[in-house]
């Protein structure tokens, strides 16, 4: 075991005194360090401090703290949200007095004050506001985004940035998410290993309840709430935009749902359930956020320093799933890159997509939002021959609208390729029609 001798005893003075513990790993090789990539001592310390890293998402508080205490000095953070009282049970950089302030600002100020010497640059807005040139400045991207759409956007952007002639254009993406006592963390080397789009079916959306169930045969309290949310609001308060953070709006929905439930003898509608269904609330606790964010930052630290092998090296494990509700269980594995991935695949292979021949184009367009392999909310669809439906431009929308009533069997053929685009993503998705 070698040691690049900077420290000679356990107590050091001088500028690195604060980093005594971290330096044990930056100065010493271990049994698993790769001698070709790990350069202990000054070299690794300087490169760690130079690395500019990017953080975002609901795990932001944890990520900023962890990156700052991993020795990173230049951290950028983006968050469009303001602080809500329901964040205080886990987002530990925020206090009751901060409610209403921007998360990115408050978090950055807090961590800069607590960990001296780290620079945190906040931007209060959407990650989509920034372009490739912005993301190009970072060594890596660490995300704990709660929306699948934002995840897919950053993923597609980073894949699109890769220039084979320029190794610096490859930005590792480290991504984590939680739900209750469960979570996952993964490392993506864009174009080299399985990307968010390859993994899309692991984040299948919850199946929506059919509209006819809501409208005619509700059975569960949730059905009554969805009815109030989707149908009753449109009927009675069309002119008001529903704001799920407005207690008056939630109360109105709750009362409507309750009345409907009483009509059908369905027990169990509560205010809290109404809020949960309407806002699609996912339970979240400090513990799980800590686990997943720390796992992401542990990988970021290993990636930046090579103090130990990181997840995500091609042909090795790149994905860790954590389950804490029944004992503790992790499953760490290699998620395989998919050749037919519309974002990072070969670009020539269309992904098979099941289509019922008798469904209308309208129904097909709506079904794309729910299909685990698509999850596209505002798709525009073309085939090699023609534009089936284009929503991105008003003129084209008018010209193609008449197709919506047609049956799929009359518009496409078995095996035909469809190219689907969606404003939310900087890429196009190729699918091959497979009739059910």
């Amino acid at each position: 075991m070698a040691e690049a001798t900077i420290t000679s005893s356990s107590t050091v003075a001088g500028p690195r005194a604060k980093w005594t513990y971290l330096d044990k790993f930056l100065n010493r090789t271990g049994p698993f360090t790769d001698p070709d990539s790990f350069q202990p001592g000054k070299t690794v310390i300087e490169s760690l401090e130079r690395s500019k890293v990017f953080g975002a998402g609901g795990l932001g508080c944890e990520i900023l703290k962890n990156l700052a205490l991993s020795g990173f000095k230049d951290i950028h953070v983006i968050d469009m949200d303001t602080i809500d009282v329901s964040n205080l049970n886990r987002q530990f950089l925020f206090r009751a007095a901060d409610v209403g302030s921007f998360k990115a600002d408050t978090a950055a100020r807090f961590v800069e004050k607590r960990v001296k010497g780290v620079k945190i640059t906040p931007y209060c807005g959407k990650i989509q506001d920034k372009d490739e040139a912005y993301y190009m400045q970072f060594a890596m991207i660490v995300c704990g985004l709660d929306s699948i759409e934002a995840r897919r956007w950053i993923n597609a952007t980073l894949v699109g940035m890769v220039d084979e002639q320029d190794p610096d254009s490859l930005k590792p993406l480290i991504d984590g998410g939680t739900e209750g006592f469960k979570g996952q963390a993964k490392v993506i080397l864009p174009t080299m290993t399985s990307c968010i789009e390859c993994q899309l079916d692991m984040h299948a959306p919850r199946a929506a309840v059919p509209l006819c169930t809501l409208a005619t045969i509700p059975r569960q309290p949730q059905h009554c709430i969805e009815w109030a949310h989707i149908i009753a609001w449109e009927e009675h308060r069309k002119e008001i935009t529903l704001d799920t953070d407005d207690p008056e709006h939630i109360t109105w929905l709750y009362q409507q749902a309750l009345a409907r439930a009483q009509e059908f003898n369905i027990p169990g509608v509560t205010y809290s359930m109404t809020q949960g269904v309407v806002k699609n609330i996912i339970p979240a606790i400090a513990s799980t956020n800590a686990i997943v964010a720390a796992s992401c930052c542990n990988e970021a630290f290993k990636l930046a320093t090579n103090t130990n092998p990181f997840l995500g090296f091609p042909e090795t494990d790149n994905y860790m799933m954590y389950t804490g509700d029944e004992s503790v269980y992790t499953y760490t594995f290699e998620h395989q890159k998919k050749d037919d991935c519309p974002v990072c695949g070969l670009g020539t292979i269309a992904r098979p997509l099941e289509v019922s021949p008798n469904m209308t184009l309208q129904d097909f367009v709506e079904s794309l939002a729910e299909k685990p392999e698509a999850q596209l909310k505002k798709p525009s669809i073309r085939t090699g021959e023609k534009s089936l439906y284009i929503q991105s431009l008003a003129d084209l929308e008018r010209q193609t609208r008449h197709n919506l009533e047609k049956k799929m069997v009359d518009l496409v053929e078995e095996g035909e390729e469809m190219v689907i685009t969606d404003k939310a993503f900087p890429t196009q998705f190729k699918y091959k029609v497979v009739f059910k």
Partner: protein, 565 residues
């Protein structure tokens, strides 16, 4: 919409703040957290203990106390988020307590700066605490004292070790730690009793499937799948000497019958209720037999002999055991999954299950009252507790807590009854047991190299670069002794080549551990603090299933493993 219910009382400030967690453990769990008082005995760089507490202060534990005799030094500031420059030279217990308290004004925090060995020698000093969390390095005499206290006071003790890229924790729970509210995943909880229907359920099915073939398309497509399966089971029995489908082959054949009965001349080309019926065949056509771990609870000595002071869990367990002996099934839980059906038919079905569940509950309550009278118990067990037990009877868990090994200064590490299983696990290719053994050897080194008196400073391996090689060698040989003793204790005779591989792995783990020189890496401490705080929440709320009893995390490969030691 003429008469809407009166205006509602929105959620309270507290409900708003804790909304995202109350959706997991409910108001009961929150009350349990608020009643707890957690003691952290902190040492070393002291990060993992504080990161654990952070995740408990945020969701609102009632009280915490930090015992820590360290003085804040420069290196603390590079690893510990709950200290600032102005605290240099001050008490680490005092300042970490102060900054943790800022996280949640609802939580009371206290600190003790007195050295642990003198502090715990005061009489009754541990009395206020409902759970103890001790971090390594710790003097074996102190850890033994805590372990003995946990035994007598029957409170949980956690021992946590976070060194470099590795961490581990062990938990010593009381000898009987039952969990009723285990939160099983919804897919595993459906218990429809299709093979043991009661008369009202059969009656419901007959009524809903009368003239099935002649039904209008709309009616046919809305018969609840439970009624469909019961109907086709009756038909099947007529042709099979009154027997239900017994094995996989018969169930597949039965499924085929159901599938064929669906109408395909519909706009969708099929019927959703029949799809549901087909999908439920293999899952739902199993005899409702309780798992062996549940049956073991009925046979446990605490359940067999109810005394005036028996915990209510055992009284209810005994009563449900009686129910099981009498009927060969557990009480009906009463929940019905959503299914394609008309509102009124579904609600009616729900009521059939609910009435049966209430009837079964009434019978169990009667047994409980009988047991209470017999054992001269003064306080009656609340019916809602019996109800919770009946509802989740198939999924209740009993953890048999036990002390984890405290590494002795002299003599061997003993694994007792667990030796055999552990020795077997050693040979698994991706086993993390070598890391645990490296930790034990690390503890053994600290125990033997530190002065005998509990008051003396502990010796940490790997601190100085000059001793790194010799200390690594020393701990490796301690680890080899531990693993050889384990194999001997298990009377196992591992393959020589396999054993050599295990020793190589242990050697590497020791090397990685000593590399740290006792340092904590913030990420590993934060991650471990996350896991330990999840476990503490589970233990305090008596919900979900806790680790039994040791967990290891490998930050090199990003994996965990759980062992019973």
């Amino acid at each position: 919409m003429a008469d809407l219910p009166p205006p509602v009382q929105g959620p309270t400030a507290k409900e708003k703040k804790y909304d995202r967690q109350l959706r997991l453990w409910g108001a009961n769990g929150q009350v349990a957290l608020e009643k707890s008082h957690i003691l952290l005995i902190n040492s070393g760089p002291g990060v993992v203990g504080l990161e654990t507490l952070k995740n408990l202060v945020l969701p609102g534990i009632g009280n915490f106390t930090i015992q820590d005799s360290a003085v804040v030094s420069e290196p603390d500031l590079g690893v510990n988020f709950f200290l600032e420059e102005e605290h240099l030279g001050g008490s680490r217990a005092e300042h970490t307590c102060g900054l943790l308290k800022e996280l949640n004004p609802d939580v009371n925090g206290n600190f003790v700066s007195e050295p642990v060995e003198s502090w715990i020698s005061h009489p009754d000093v541990l009395f206020p605490y409902t759970l103890i969390l001790a971090t390594a390095p710790i003097h074996p005499l102190v850890l033994s004292t805590l372990s003995a206290y946990a035994d007598t006071a029957q409170i949980p003790l956690f021992y946590v070790h976070s060194v470099g890229f590795y961490s581990h924790f062990s938990v010593h729970l009381p000898p009987a730690f039952p969990v009723v509210d285990t939160h099983p995943s919804p897919e595993t909880t459906s218990d429809l009793r299709l093979l043991k229907p009661w008369p009202e359920l059969l009656e419901y099915a007959t009524q809903k499937t009368a003239n099935l073939q002649g039904m209008s398309p709309d009616d046919h497509g809305h018969v609840p799948f439970v009624a469909l399966l019961l109907h086709f089971l009756e038909e099947w029995k007529k042709e099979h000497n009154g027997e239900v489908p017994q094995n996989y082959k018969e169930k597949t054949a039965f499924r085929e019958t159901v599938s064929k009965a669906a109408r395909t001349n519909t706009p969708e080309g099929g019927e959703e209720n029949f799809d549901e019926a087909v999908a439920a065949v293999l899952k739902s056509l199993n005899p409702p037999e309780p798992s062996s771990s549940v049956k073991d609870i009925f046979k446990a000595p605490e359940s067999l002999l109810i005394r005036h002071n028996s915990p209510s869990f055992w009284v209810i367990a005994n009563a449900i055991g009686l129910f099981y002996t009498k009927y060969g099934v557990l009480p009906v839980p009463g929940a019905v999954p959503d299914m394609k059906a008309r509102s009124a038919d579904y609600i009616e079905l729900q009521n059939v299950y609910k009435s049966k569940a209430r009837k079964d509950l009434a019978e169990v309550v009667e047994s409980v009252r009988f047991l209470e009278r017999n054992a001269n118990r003064t306080a009656q067990i609340e019916e809602k507790n019996v109800e919770a037990f009946c509802k989740n009877a198939a999924h209740i868990k009993l953890v048999r807590g036990r002390p984890f090994p405290v590494i002795p200064r002299e003599g061997e590490v003993k694994f007792g009854g667990q030796a055999r299983t552990l020795a077997q696990q050693l040979s698994f290719p991706d086993s993390l047991l070598p890391i645990y053994i490296a930790f034990l050897a690390w503890d053994k080194f600290t125990a033997t190299h530190s002065p005998q008196a509990a008051s003396s400073a502990l010796i940490i391996p790997g601190l100085s670069p000059t001793d790194l090689a010799s200390e690594t060698e020393n701990i490796t040989s301690l680890a080899f002794t531990i693993v050889s003793d384990l194999v001997k204790e298990a009377s196992a005779s591992p393959d020589e080549a396999d054993f050599a591989t295990v020793k190589t792995q242990i050697g590497e783990c020791v090397q990685e551990l000593v590399r740290a020189g006792g340092a904590e890496l913030h990420n590993i401490a934060a991650l471990t603090g996350g896991i330990v705080s999840q476990e503490i929440i589970k233990v305090v709320t008596e919900q979900y299933v806790p680790v039994d009893n040791t967990c290891v995390f490998d930050g090199v490969r990003s994996r965990t493993a759980v062992f019973r030691v």
